[in-house]
Subunit: 204 residues, 2 copies
């Protein structure tokens, strides 16, 4: 009995290969666009034929689903990380959170499309894949409550505002900063609207 290394090497290899497939898929998605991803090419990149991928994922959409989960998990992780060093004033908090989300979305077009837009025809994320997205939303919401912004409609308004800025940036000035530069102003506008204190000199 040499120790008890009950490592399931088989399962490990399997999960490694899954990860490899997803990584290849991300690379292709970034290079050619999310919708241009083909199983043949994913296979080619990792030295496999397309049908072999079906031992690892039930379908192409299952791959998208796993990518969706990864994307939102990454976002959730970024938020958890962020919470450690959030500023103290409510207004600054809102800005920091908005900025974090904005930057995460804008940093990777393919990822953003997958996370926030219905750009893939038949794809609908599974509930499990959706879980981290809900997590992010919950985190933001709880911060809002802590800041005293507890009305549901205000929260919805904030969501729409930040989302609108992101979409406008990606759609009309990808790679630029035309709407990115408006984010702070927008949050100030929102903060004023909901009556948050702290009088940053209004640079309207």
């Amino acid at each position: 009995m040499l120790g008890s290394p009950i490592r399931d090497r088989q399962a490990e290899r399997r999960s490694d290969t899954r990860a490899e497939i997803l990584e290849a898929a991300w690379v292709i998605a970034r290079e050619k666009g999310l919708a241009e991803l083909t199983l043949r090419e994913v296979g080619a990149r990792i030295g496999m034929r397309a049908p072999s991928l079906y031992s690892y994922f039930d379908s192409k959409n299952a791959i998208y689903d796993a990518m969706f989960a990864q994307a939102w998990s990454g976002c959730l992780a970024a938020f958890d990380d962020l919470e450690k060093r959030l500023p103290r004033t409510p207004r600054a908090e809102l800005k920091k959170m908005a900025r974090a989300f904005f930057d995460y979305a804008v940093a990777d077009l393919a990822r953003h499309q997958l996370m926030n837009q219905r750009t893939i025809s038949g794809f609908v994320p599974s509930t499990e894949a959706y879980a981290p997205a809900v997590g992010v939303l919950e985190r933001v919401r709880s911060h809002f409550v802590r800041c005293g912004v507890d009305r549901a409609d205000h929260f919805d308004l904030y969501i729409a505002l930040v989302g609108g800025l992101i979409d406008a940036q990606q759609a009309n000035d990808p790679g630029g900063s035309r709407w990115s530069a408006l984010l702070d102003q927008a949050i100030d506008m929102f903060a004023d609207h909901v009556g948050l204190p702290e009088s940053r000199r209004k640079s309207t």
Copy 2:
């Protein structure tokens, strides 16, 4: 010489068929989704085989392009119509315009996707098809200037705000009114931000 009816019957028939194709395409897009549109089915609806459509449109994307043009032309028409009976106060004007655009977008999901989202993989609207969209934007912009809101960043902010509300509505509560109900509040917030007068009782 019986009168001079130089009607080009041939061209008429041709253009009628084009219209018929587009109409069938819209029906399918609304029924099954914009991306689920197939040439075979478009053909079937008008009693043709798929390849025959190529005498009328260069490609499937050309059909999308024509639909894109129709959608924005309709929007432009709605705006021109609207201008006749716009309210007099700046704030009310902004609201009316936002509402018009919001309702137009929300009324037809397929149309909205085509107009405002990159939901079709390889499709990029041609400059000609894009023209009415530019027209709409110009109309809104000129109203802004007339209202005294002339800073470019404020205009961009408005675009992002209205777009964000539309997207949020369609994505998270299609058919409902959760974000629709926020539109007036959002425009009030914006109007306050840019310093527009008229003191509607702040129902924050």
